[in-house]
């Protein structure tokens, strides 16, 4: 199979590089301009990057498997994030702290994530070709159900012991919950001080394990089935692969990984914004992956880490750069959201353009081949 598509076969390598890596190149330029403008020290930047790398990489790794399955970017990962948050709420209510608390949150939230992933898989199977926008809407829908359960169900239908996390009316969880009991327990489990920067080795090892799992998973039968489904549904079906079940499994795995990613994220932050913590999980994770050079059809582990570094460097420097440039730090906040959505829109538009050009080139080739057959016959 040719590595380069029809579009890029005729291009020179420089053009090929520019088109394929347009988004990371653009973000790199923005970051290079913004870093000196922000006036932040390298030590501060590196410290922030290390924290964000350990905090956010797991969530972005959760996006890889649906891409391999040909389902595009999984905008439904907030479902996994919500499952993780429910686990965290329960362990906080019961007063379970430390690593046992973290593991118990994982244990409680896993069946919820499996259920939500299964549900998401069924819905996305009915929206073949439109998985990304369906996933986006699914996240909004599930957000409503989550808020119903957490705001009205907990403390009334679902008994809660700890009144400090309940609203004053006696039911419903507070807007913000302190997670002091599990704050940075994984980060501090094994931490090394390197030049004044605390590196959370345990968290990074966990992320490395997930990377190894993804590499190993690709080589298993299920991983190969997922790849075949991603390349062509009909050919996979003719090979005896149950396409629908494979797609459901890929979304379920992604949802479970997102659930664990959100738990790791929350233990680093140390507090839970109950009703809006999961809002931008999907958008920021997808944007970061696209910034790392991934596309709707192809994403690798290196895209995840390049994306986290570039995207979060931009996150860190843009408020200060915005303040230096235009006198308003708040501009940086809007700039982040603008870049996130902009990157996604740009990548999707670029992908659609490439597909259209490739189709056109294929059509021209077929026409040329038919003409040459007619001429030869004459």
């Amino acid at each position: 199979m040719n590595k380069r598509s029809n579009l890029t076969k005729t291009m020179n390598p420089f053009e090929y590089f520019l088109i394929n890596f347009a988004v990371p190149i653009l973000i790199t330029i923005i970051v290079i301009i913004a870093i000196p403008l922000s006036g932040l020290s390298w030590e501060f930047l590196i410290r922030e990057l290390v924290i964000r790398l350990s905090r956010d990489s797991f969530l972005i790794l959760a996006l890889l498997i649906p891409i391999i399955a040909g389902m595009g970017m999984n905008f439904a990962i907030p479902l996994g994030a919500m499952a993780g948050q429910i686990g965290i709420i329960f362990i906080t209510d019961w007063g379970i702290v430390g690593m046992p608390g973290l593991f118990l949150a994982v244990l409680i939230s896993t069946p919820i994530a499996i259920l939500l992933g299964y549900f998401a898989g069924i819905v996305l199977n009915r929206a073949k070709g439109r998985e990304m926008v369906t996933g986006f809407m699914l996240a909004f829908f599930m957000n409503g159900i989550y808020q119903l359960v957490v705001l009205y169900g907990m403390g009334s239908v679902i008994p809660m012991k700890n009144s400090s996390i309940l609203l004053s009316r006696g039911y419903g969880i507070r807007n913000a919950i302190n997670l002091l009991g599990i704050r940075q327990v994984l980060d501090n489990l094994i931490a090394i001080d390197i030049g004044g920067i605390l590196v959370p080795i345990a968290t990074l090892l966990t992320i490395a394990l997930v990377c190894l799992f993804i590499i190993f998973f690709r080589k298993t039968k299920l991983g190969q089935d997922i790849r075949s489904v991603g390349q062509d549904n009909e050919i996979a079906r003719s090979l005896g692969i149950n396409v629908e079940i494979t797609r459901i499994l890929s979304v379920s795995i992604s949802t479970i990984l997102a659930c664990y990613g959100q738990i790791i994220f929350l233990q680093n932050i140390g507090s839970l914004a109950t009703y809006n913590c999961h809002d931008f999980v999907g958008v920021f994770a997808v944007a970061a992956l696209l910034v790392g050079g991934a596309s709707v059809r192809k994403a690798t582990i290196s895209n995840v880490f390049i994306g986290v570094i570039l995207f979060h460097t931009m996150f860190v420097v843009s408020p200060r750069a915005g303040k230096e440039l235009l006198g308003q730090a708040q501009l940086g906040e809007y700039f982040r959201v603008f870049i996130s959505y902009g990157v996604i829109a740009f990548s999707l538009a670029l992908y659609a353009w490439r597909k259209r050009v490739e189709k056109e080139n294929e059509r021209k080739k077929t026409m040329a081949a038919k003409r040459s057959i007619v001429v030869n016959n004459d």
């Binding site: 362990i91 379970i96 702290v97 430390g98 690593m99 046992p100 244990l107 409680i108 012991k161």
Partner: protein, 127 residues
């Protein structure tokens, strides 16, 4: 049949794992009182200050008539108490072990504990 049995076993193991994590991770509130108390018609007086450690973590100085709170995690715990005078630790160390069930908090009375009273710790169910 074999597959079903394996799945049921995994679920049972996970349930036990959950119970184990709950027990070892549960946080309890231990109130430590240095106040006068009557136990079984015997009156114990709080007449000095003590330094307190719980599970080898220093809780600090507990003056007579005062109370301090220690948060402990898990089932089995140790409390060590030593008299403190003019910022100096004097006298012998008193050590006691106690355990708490998952739904229990405790109140320890230092004069009763030091004098080896029958009831030096009161356990209350978590409401």
């Amino acid at each position: 049949m074999k597959r079903t049995l394996i799945r049921i076993s995994i679920i049972i193991i996970l349930i036990f794992l959950g119970i184990f994590l709950y027990t070892i991770g549960k946080e309890h509130k231990v109130l430590i009182d240095n106040i006068d108390v009557t136990v079984n018609d015997t009156y114990y007086i709080s007449d000095t200050n003590y330094n307190v450690w719980v599970n080898n973590q220093e809780i600090g100085l507990l003056e007579k008539g005062k109370r301090k709170v220690a948060m402990v995690v898990g089932k089995n715990h140790k409390i060590i108490v030593q008299e403190i005078k003019n910022n100096e630790l004097i006298g012998e160390k008193y050590e006691k072990m106690f355990n708490l069930k998952s739904n229990e908090n405790a109140t320890i009375n230092l004069p009763a504990m030091i004098n080896s009273a029958d009831i030096w710790i009161k356990k209350q169910a978590d409401i």
